[in-house]
């Protein structure tokens, strides 16, 4: 089980990083979203994996760690706000210049190739 979650985090990170390194805004935004998943799952997993023991107080004796969950919950909502802002900035840049490159100066250095 652990290896599945760990590898999922790894694959999300790798995919996110690769897309973040693309040259157009849209893939970069998707890349950031993938990284957000990776980070959220990573933080969530810091409470270790527990199956079938939600942090709702009942007669049960063991519960999963509620704190990472609370932190990740707000992170998810905030990430929506951030994504929206970034998308709006990207959109504004594209509509203003008819160019959706993320790099400041295409035509300079290796990044322009």
């Amino acid at each position: 089980m652990e290896i599945l979650v760990a590898s999922a985090i790894g694959i999300l990170t790798a995919g996110g990083l690769y897309l973040v390194l693309r040259m157009r805004t849209f893939p970069v935004i998707l890349g950031v979203s993938l990284l957000t998943y990776a980070v959220n799952v990573f933080l969530f997993a810091s409470g270790r994996l527990t199956i079938g023991a939600p942090p709702i107080l009942t007669d049960a004796t063991t519960y999963t760690d509620p704190l990472p969950q609370a932190l990740v919950l707000t992170a998810i909502v905030i990430s929506f706000g951030m994504t929206a802002v970034v998308v709006m900035i990207a959109l504004g840049a594209y509509l203003g210049t008819n160019d959706d490159h993320v790099d400041d100066a295409p035509g300079r250095g290796e990044d322009a190739v």
């Binding site: 652990e2 990083l17 707000t74 909502v77 802002v85």
Partner: protein, 955 residues
């Protein structure tokens, strides 16, 4: 008055003059004057304690764990400096009222002045050295504003920048020095540090601490080799120069050396550094001052020279030297402030400060003449004026000072310094006021109104009074000296009198004065020599240095940060991986403590789906719509994962956020190209792939590592689980953490969310207000649009679903405290319900039915949450303390009422408002000119005639 108020008063009222700007110049100056007077009076209410030899303390713990406390201490030394700062401040304020021209913004000026004054008072009253550092930096910043007050003058801006750079760098050095000092002494409180002389001087870190602290003092007090900023700061308005360079800013370094005297002085290092720098500065400043033609420049270098003199006296490390220094600080403040103000008067009335264009002013400006002459003679060290007394003491001290086994070098240099000092004073008098009257002054000189000459006149009265009756100053100076010395030495018994008999100092004094007259007589040939001699220009060197540093910084930074975002991202990723690897490789890795849990077929299936979706995104990302679909799968699998691993709240949040994010990205994709073109080379893709895989492997390794091990220290979650019901009244621990334990966090988060939404709104407004608007209105969509954009089926369905969705949201909200749910999730669900209406029935139709603006909803949410928090103040509890009770209204079951629910309502509203406002921005972009917004919910409605429907569609 409490010390806190004395320090706080200037800061608290700093905005008053700015606000009074409309009320006129007199009101502006009046309010500043009153505030300063109040602080001064407050200071004097403590006088009796100081005279009794006691110390007034004020203490508030700030960050005790760092040793940072808001502790203030008032002893004789602090009292003396605070009196100088506030007293001379009063005169300066009165003077500035008449000095500043009509076009100068007086409110701004006095605001800066009060900030500066507060910072200075803070320095001299601080007991905690960290607090002192804060005030120290504040003086650098506020003096920057004051020096650069005339923003239209390039000299003003350059001078201000130079002053800030030099004193700011010194401040940085001093932070280091103070931290070391605090580490040695084990406390950051001066009262403790001053008791630990032995401990500090024997420490190996004494020398670094000393050098760093002295760097701070020397830069502030313009000691060689940092003296060059002071003359350039003369570009400031004269009241600023008079204030900064007589009694305050430059005396801060001197103050600190005096303050630290008991613990730092008396060692050879101290002696060499401080006396050496002081001597050089004194002689150098005096020589340069003689050849300056600008009155203020002359005074600036004379200030440098006199600061050197005081520094040298402190450097000798003897009690007599300290007493002479204290006395000279007092005398210098009086005559120098008077001289600066006189120079300002001359500038104001004749419109020039160039000595070569002046001369013969004694009959034209008799009052100014008397004031300036008395002050200048005092500076030259003429008997019956206060400058004579302290200069005599300086020469006496110099006579006894041995530098490196040499008995004559210090006395000789002291005489040279005094000689040039006398010479420039005589030149100031001779070349400005004496000589023949001229007929080519830029303006017709006459004495100014009393407002300008009264402040310096008052100071000159002091100059003469102390000069004639030195015993008046004696108890005060001795009291202050006792405070400087602490318990390290006894105050010298020497009496203050004009005639000491035929002592060496008298002969040295005579040599200096006579020599000064001789030098003035030879001024013309000397000037020629001076002009011919090559001299390094400090400003050029400084600018060269700054340019060099900028070039170096650019050379370091530009290869990394060349404006290409991908490069930043790659550099950051690689750095994190390398740093992580370093930590991994050098740290110790414990054995796994948790057993691996088996994975079933369903889990593996979910994993496969997610991985396939990510891989699909990577390889097919050029098709943007497809990649959007794929990321939806990823989000869905993450949500399912949350359910599986006992996090129902997270799953609900993730899936609802997923819905709104997808809608948002779809809206955005409406405007962006559908395809990403192939642009990068194979090489670059390989590079990116490498970086990505390295990052992925690192993330995986780290996660796998800690998933198999328990936390090193017990998590604090036990507390939350144990107290959730007892203290928070809820069984859903995640929700109780959000609205109760960490409510303040959540409060901050909904504010961030609100700000993000408002930011989107602002960006939309900017876009729609600019050239983009026309393009958007006239664009033709690149995809064919459905003829029936708002189909009846969908409208009816969403309309029916709306109350159900709201009911679900309400239910999720209410049960949130005890079962999975809560304000965040309910807010997202409600938003989805609302968005459905927009999508199905059109923007126009939905907006018409929107009762409250989204901004208002966000604001209301934040306010409700904030007020809930504040509510706990009324019962004497800290912010956001929650309370709950169980209520039973007979026909119903017992239910719970918690203030946390009210807070959660705030969260709910903020989330709804933020989501709606964000999406609203995107939909407004989508409107086009030739397509009118339909007023009807459905494009085709059998109840309407077909023509009307077509009109509504705008075809």
């Amino acid at each position: 008055m409490s010390l806190f108020l004395i320090v706080a008063l200037p800061f608290l009222s700093a905005l008053l003059p700015g606000l009074m700007n409309q009320a006129g110049r007199a009101a502006c100056a009046g309010v500043t004057f009153t505030v300063t007077l109040a602080a001064l009076v407050g200071l004097f209410t403590n006088l009796h304690t100081i005279i009794a030899g006691d110390v007034v303390m004020y203490r508030v713990d700030w960050i005790p764990s760092l040793g940072l406390n808001f502790t203030l201490m008032l002893d004789a030394l602090g009292f003396f400096f605070a009196t100088l700062i506030l007293g001379i401040g009063l005169l300066i304020i009165a003077y500035a009222r008449f000095y500043l021209a009509r076009e100068d913004n007086m409110g701004e000026f006095f605001t800066y002045l009060l900030l500066f004054q507060g910072a200075m008072v803070g320095i001299v009253l601080s007991d905690n050295i960290l607090l002192l550092l804060v005030f120290w930096e504040l003086t650098s910043l506020s003096s920057f504003l004051l020096i650069g007050y005339w923003k239209h003058l390039p000299e003003g801006r350059q001078g201000a920048r130079m002053a800030l750079t030099v004193t700011g760098m010194g401040g940085l050095a001093m932070i280091g020095g103070m931290l070391i000092l605090g580490q040695i002494a084990g406390s950051y409180d001066l009262s403790v540090i001053l008791q630990n002389r032995e401990l500090i001087q024997q420490s190996d870190l004494y020398l670094p601490a000393l050098i760093l602290i002295l760097a701070g003092c020397f830069t502030k007090s313009a000691q060689f080799p940092f003296h060059f900023w002071l003359p350039h700061a003369m570009a400031a308005p004269t009241p600023v120069s008079a204030y900064l360079h007589s009694a305050t800013m430059v005396k801060a370094g001197i103050f600190l050396m005096a303050r630290m005297w008991p613990v730092l002085s008396g060692t050879p290092e101290w002696f060499w550094l401080v006396t050496g720098a002081g001597l050089i500065t004194m002689v150098l400043g005096a020589v340069i001052a003689l050849f300056k033609h600008d009155l203020k420049a002359l005074l600036a270098f004379s200030t440098v020279s006199h600061l050197g003199l005081i520094t040298m006296l402190l450097g000798t490390g003897t009690a007599f030297g300290a007493m002479a220094a204290v006395f000279h600080i007092l005398n210098h403040a009086t005559f120098k402030a008077a001289l600066f103000m006189s120079a300002g008067i001359i500038d104001h009335e004749t419109h020039t400060r160039d000595i070569r264009r002046l001369g013969g002013l004694r009959h034209l400006m008799p009052i100014t003449f008397v004031i300036a002459t008395l002050a200048a003679l005092s500076m030259a060290g003429i008997p019956l004026l206060n400058g004579f007394l302290s200069k005599e003491m300086m020469l006496e001290e110099a006579y006894h000072t041995v530098l490196g086994g040499n008995h004559w070098i210090v006395p000789a240099l002291a005489v040279v310094g005094s000689l040039f000092s006398a010479a420039y004073c005589f030149r100031l008098i001779g070349h400005t006021f004496l000589g023949p009257q001229r007929d080519d002054y830029p303006a017709k000189p006459h004495d100014p109104p009393a407002g300008l000459w009264l402040p310096p006149a008052l100071l000159v009265v002091l100059v003469v009074a102390i000069g004639i009756a030195p015993f008046l100053a004696e108890p005060a100076v001795k009291g202050i000296t006792a405070a400087v010395l602490g318990n390290t030495a006894e105050v010298p018994t020497a009496y203050f009198k004009i005639w000491h008999g035929l002592v060496p100092a008298l002969y040295m004094s005579i040599v200096a004065v006579v020599g000064g007259l001789v030098v003035l007589a030879l001024f013309k040939p000397l000037l020629k020599l001076w002009d011919a001699a090559p001299r390094p220009e400090a400003k050029t060197i400084f600018e060269g240095l700054v340019e060099g540093v900028v070039r170096l910084a650019k050379a370091l930074i530009l290869p990394l940060h060349n404006g290409a975002f991908s490069r930043y991202a790659a550099v950051m990723a690689v750095t994190v991986v390398i740093a992580g690897y370093y930590a991994w490789a050098t740290g110790t890795v414990g054995a796994p403590t948790r057993s691996v849990q088996p994975a079933g077929a369903i889990e593996i299936a979910g994993w496969v789906m997610m991985v396939a979706a990510v891989l699909g995104m990577v390889f097919l990302h050029r098709n943007r719509l497809l990649s959007l679909v794929l990321i939806g799968i990823v989000g869905l699998m993450v949500s399912v994962g949350f359910v599986f691993f006992s996090a129902p709240d997270l799953a609900m949040t993730q899936i609802t956020v997923e819905v709104v994010t997808t809608i948002l990205l779809l809206l955005a994709l409406n405007f962006l190209p559908n395809e990403t073109p192939v642009e990068s080379t194979v090489l670059r893709r390989a590079r990116d792939m490498t970086v990505a895989v390295a990052g992925g492997v690192a993330a995986m390794g780290l996660s796998y590592h800690y998933l198999l091990r328990d936390a090193v220290t017990a998590p604090i979650s036990e507390f939350h689980l144990a107290n959730s019901y007892k203290g928070g009244g809820g069984t859903n621990v995640v929700n109780v953490i959000l609205v109760d334990f960490r409510g303040f966090d959540t409060f901050g988060e909904i504010i961030v969310l609100g700000i993000a939404a408002v930011l989107i709104y602002a960006l939309t407004e900017t876009l729609l207000g600019g050239p983009v608007r026309a393009r958007l209105l006239n664009r033709t969509p690149d995809k064919p649009l459905a003829g029936d954009q708002h189909p009846m089926m969908m409208v009816v369905l969403t309309r029916v679903a709306m109350p159900v969705v709201m009911m679900v949201a309400f239910y999720v909200f209410l049960r949130g405290h005890n079962e999975p749910g809560g304000g965040f999730i309910a807010g997202l669900i409600a938003s989805i319900g609302l968005v459905m209406q927009y999508m199905a029935s059109g923007y126009s139709w939905a907006t018409q039915r929107q009762r409250y603006p989204h901004h208002g909803v966000i604001g209301a949410g934040v306010l409700i949450a904030g007020l809930t928090g504040i509510g706990s103040w009324f019962v004497g509890k800290p912010f956001l303390t929650s309370d709950f009770t169980y209520v039973r209204i007979p026909p119903f079951e017992k239910f719970e009422l918690a203030t946390a629910a009210l807070f959660d309502l705030g969260v709910f509203l903020a989330v709804v408002g933020a989501v709606m406002l964000s999406l609203d921005g995107f939909s407004r972009l989508a409107r086009r000119a030739h397509v009118k917004d339909s007023d009807y919910a459905m494009d085709i409605n059998p109840a309407r005639s077909e023509n009307e429907a077509l009109k509504g569609q705008g075809v």
